[in-house]
Subunit: 149 residues, 2 copies
DNA sequence: TCTGAAACCATCACCTG
DNA sequence: CAGGTGATGGTTTCAGA
């Protein structure tokens, strides 16, 4: 889908605050809210907008620790291995990557104890993986709302 | 802030779709929308809800490549180095981590050429860093809307 | 892309158990 | 004091221009 500057402005506004009323978006880009409604609908259709999500503080819901986990996958067992990872509670992202690791996870856990359990009782027990490395996130210095638009 | 099961249900609904009208949230949790309005307001105040964001497909806005970048920081130069990273266009997350890397970035770029520029003309030129490693994301297998609630 | 209108929703002051 | 009611002004949504 081809986006013009108007679409991009709408995206910027909704990326920053997804609950901005279309009527206000319309005011800010100087168009009618029917047009905004239209354009947003088309961008949702096309998959440009994948959804709208409340950003929930992990600590507030009981997750005190986040980490990246790099994994090496044994040849030929990728699919099976990935499927089982998806079912582990606390695994919130699974990426396939180049470089030192084949798979990079993002995980959340209540505390370091439950992170250890997650790693040693769930991930390490799964076969299909060799080596892993856990990089605990000590702090996040910057976290954009999404890609720059 | 103390969250009860009602708060958590509201969070689940808004994490999945931040534009759900409070009146519908109210219907689903069997309460009045005034109560939902109230609870959401309190959770925003308390920072449990950090915001609402449209999820924008990076490819649709011209970013064909995403990567994780691990960096080693030289002793005593952390603050200065982090500040300069934040100003590089395409750097969308900056995390401090334990393990092999001191800093883990998430970056987006138009293509591999501009990723190379980003790395060699911007990051590598900055002093305060030794070693770096770029892990290009070949694909994302799973991406949760946020922490499990 | 807009106008206009009906249905719908957010929000607030004020009750109620 | 958390939750509900009801009024009102704003918002969404859609047909038709």
């Amino acid at each position: 889908m081809e986006l013009d500057e108007t679409d991009r402005e709408i995206l910027r506004i909704l990326q920053e605050n997804a609950r901005t009323p279309f009527s206000e978006v319309a005011r800010r880009i100087d168009m009618s809210s029917a047009t905004v409604h239209d354009r947003v609908g088309r961008m949702e259709e096309a998959g440009v907008i994948g959804g709208y999500h409340a950003e929930v503080d992990p600590k507030a819901v009981g997750y005190g620790v986040s980490a990246f986990v790099g994994l090496r996958v044994e040849q030929g067992r990728e699919e099976d291995a990935l499927e089982r990872l998806r079912d582990i509670d606390g695994v919130s992202e699974i990426h396939l990557t180049t470089g030192e690791w084949d798979v990079m996870l993002r995980v959340v856990a209540a505390d370091t104890d439950s992170l250890r359990e997650l790693m040693f009782e769930e991930v390490a027990e799964m076969d299909g993986f060799s080596r892993s490395q856990t990089m605990i996130i000590l702090g996040t210095d910057f976290d954009a709302d999404g890609p720059p638009i």
